[in-house]
């Protein structure tokens, strides 16, 4: 028994210590036609090259036409099982095709993926692959949480740097560091969930298989994928800056953290539908970014006022409230102007407001915005003069209420961002999933 154990132990150690064939997980190295490419001539076979030898079934590669017809034959392995080839027939110029693949690696993992290519036409985004599902309430929820997390990074920092300048109590100072830090990490986590959800709509894999789903075409070939990569790395840096600001009392680091967060917000707006519409322009992209940033400062600032300043610094309440009220006038102005311009761009006819789903959603959002603005006006015209007069009215429940209404505005905005606006011109289509 002991001898067998020692032999096994020796084998284990030698297997770990002695260099052997260095290899990694199975991943798709290249494809012919290339992932998300446009070919001049219709290919007669699909060739996938993997980083490791793979085990294939005849259905390892399926090539689908736009109507779902399968155009590929039985797949086979070649070149030391690192290449998988499937013959295809019936491809015509002027059409786009979807490739769905699935193999098994010797490490026991079974990666699967999807990509598209065009013959004489540009490849549609992988989210428009044949068989891809539409966005669901989960995508709306993820985008809402992303907006809310972004607001909780930008809003408190803006309130501290623009409204509450100068020394504040240490408890309040710490909260102005730690809440945006946690929110920056939340942006990353929610961003990962939102990205995987978007990819899973196209991959159409059950959860255990989704774990091995290849996300590279989505990360590298779509706007939302590139935005996701930038947000993940960027907010990692923001969280680090804010952690250092807190630990080392280097409050000046909040400035680059805020600037970087505001710039990164452009990634969220550029990954939205506004950026991929036929009538999109630099002006509309700028308007979308301004709309998002002003809304984030407004909602996050309100939340910071209600949940950070009010409970922990009673002496600063009036100053913070009055300062934020002045800032809110500017924010609301930018939001309304940018929002009106975007509505003008997105809705070609006034009747689209009540005739299209997008228009009706916009009306719902406008109703909630009107409620929030009325609430804000009440604060501005009724509460502010009383605070200026030195009174101490009971404001916090009202601030909390306005914060929740503002969060409802963000929810409506998230649903609206994931909805399809009416076509800009009769017959034109909207590249919905390129978002």
């Amino acid at each position: 028994m002991m001898r067998r154990f020692l032999v096994l132990l020796a084998l284990l150690v030698s297997a770990l210590a002695v260099p052997s064939l260095a290899s990694g997980h199975v991943t798709l190295e290249s494809a012919t036609p290339e992932v998300q490419s446009s070919a001049d001539l219709a290919p007669t076979q699909i060739l996938l090259r993997f980083t490791e030898p793979v085990v294939v079934s005849p259905a390892a590669i399926r090539v689908l036409a736009a109507d779902g017809t399968v155009l590929s034959g039985a797949a086979r392995a070649a070149a030391g099982d690192r290449v998988v080839i499937a013959p295809v027939s019936g491809l015509v110029r002027g059409s786009a095709y979807t490739v769905r693949w699935r193999v098994s690696g010797q490490d026991g993992h079974s990666p699967a993926g999807v990509f598209t290519f065009g013959v004489g036409v540009p490849a549609p985004p992988p989210t428009d692959a044949v068989g891809a599902g539409a966005m669901t309430w989960k995508d709306d929820l993820a985008r809402w949480l992303l907006f809310a997390s972004l607001a909780l990074v930008i809003g408190p920092l803006a309130l501290r740097l623009l409204v509450l300048q100068g020394p504040v109590p240490e408890t309040l100072e710490q909260r102005f560091d730690l809440i945006p830090t946690a929110a920056a990490l939340a942006v990353i986590n929610v961003g990962i969930v939102a990205f995987v959800l978007r990819a899973s709509n196209a991959l159409q894999l059950p959860l255990p298989d989704l774990l091995y789903g290849d996300l590279q075409p989505f990360a590298e070939k779509t706007r939302f994928g590139i935005a996701f990569l930038a947000l993940t790395l960027g907010f990692g840096v923001v969280a680090t800056l804010l952690l250092f600001a807190w630990v080392a009392d280097l409050r000046v680091l909040r400035v680059p953290a805020l600037v970087l967060s505001v710039l990164l917000a452009s990634g969220i707006s550029l990954s939205g539908h506004q950026a991929t519409l036929p009538n999109s322009s630099k002006a509309s992209e700028l308007a979308d970014w301004l709309h998002l940033v002003s809304a984030a400062i407004w909602v996050g600032g309100l939340a910071a006022l209600a949940f950070i300043v009010w409970p922990s610094a009673p002496a600063l309440r009036a100053r913070a409230f009055l300062g934020f009220a002045r800032l809110a006038v500017v924010l609301v102005g930018v939001m309304v102007l940018a929002g009106a311009y975007l509505a003008f761009v997105r809705l070609p006819a006034v009747s689209d407001l009540w005739e299209s789903d997008y228009g009706r959603l916009l009306l719902v959002k406008l109703a909630i915005v009107a409620l929030a603005l009325s609430w804000g006006a009440l604060h501005h015209f009724v509460i502010s003069p009383r605070l200026e007069a030195g009174e101490q009215p009971r404001v916090r429940p009202s601030l909390v209420g306005e914060t929740f209404v503002a969060l409802a505005v963000l929810l409506a905005a998230a649903v609206l961002t994931n909805a399809t606006p009416p076509p800009a011109e009769p017959g034109s289509t909207v590249a919905r999933s390129a978002r």
């Binding site: 290899s23 997980h25 969280a239 680090t240 807190w246």
Partner: protein, 191 residues
């Protein structure tokens, strides 16, 4: 776009070795001597925090599978938060020894990510063996910071914590993801 897995693993191993050696130095010479130069106290938490930032870079290169993306993000977050909290402890921002429980949670989460990340049994392959070994070692190593929270002066906790990083480095240096090696041994064990 994806760096070779061995390269990434060996870089991680080198960093873990550095962390382990820093911690081990403090255990060997004693905290009083080690911290005679104040910057040395910041060495481990700063390196842990920086490793978190580095792991975010690795995370965005890990889109070849959902599981790797999520696992790397968890490791990045765990390293960043644990490093940040320990840095705050060294700076005197946080005073309770119970803050080392954050490190325990980070180790637990990191270990769990390794275990979930590996669907095969222990002896399926070299990578499977190493993933299980690293995962369970990190889960067990969570006891060291817990011990430090309860009995901060007992040196065993610090020594165990330091050795965890050195063993982690050795295991990562051995991780080459070559599949079929232990697959053969599984039959020997069963027979």
């Amino acid at each position: 776009m994806i760096p070779r897995p061995e390269t990434a693993h060996w870089l991680a191993a080198a960093f873990a070795l550095l962390l382990g050696l820093v911690l081990l130095s403090e255990v060997i010479v004693g905290t009083q001597v080690f911290r005679r130069r104040p910057w040395r106290a910041y060495l481990f938490p700063s390196l842990a925090l920086c490793s978190g930032v580095g792991l975010w870079v690795i995370t965005i290169f890990s889109t070849f599978s959902t599981m790797h993306l999520v696992a790397h993000a968890l490791w990045a977050e765990a390293a960043m938060i644990a490093g940040g909290v320990q840095l705050a402890v060294v700076r005197g921002k946080l005073r309770s020894p119970h803050w080392s429980l954050v490190t325990a949670i980070a180790l637990l989460v990191s270990g769990a990510a390794f275990l979930v990340h590996e669907p095969n049994p222990w002896l399926y392959s070299r990578a499977a063996f190493l993933h299980h070994a690293i995962g369970w070692m990190l889960v067990a190593a969570a006891l060291f910071p817990i011990g430090q929270a309860l009995r901060p002066r007992w040196p065993l906790w610090r020594a165990g914590f330091a050795l965890t990083f050195i063993v982690l480095a050795l295991l990562l240096f051995a991780d080459r993801d070559a599949a079929p090696i232990f697959g053969r041994f599984a039959g020997v064990v069963a027979g």
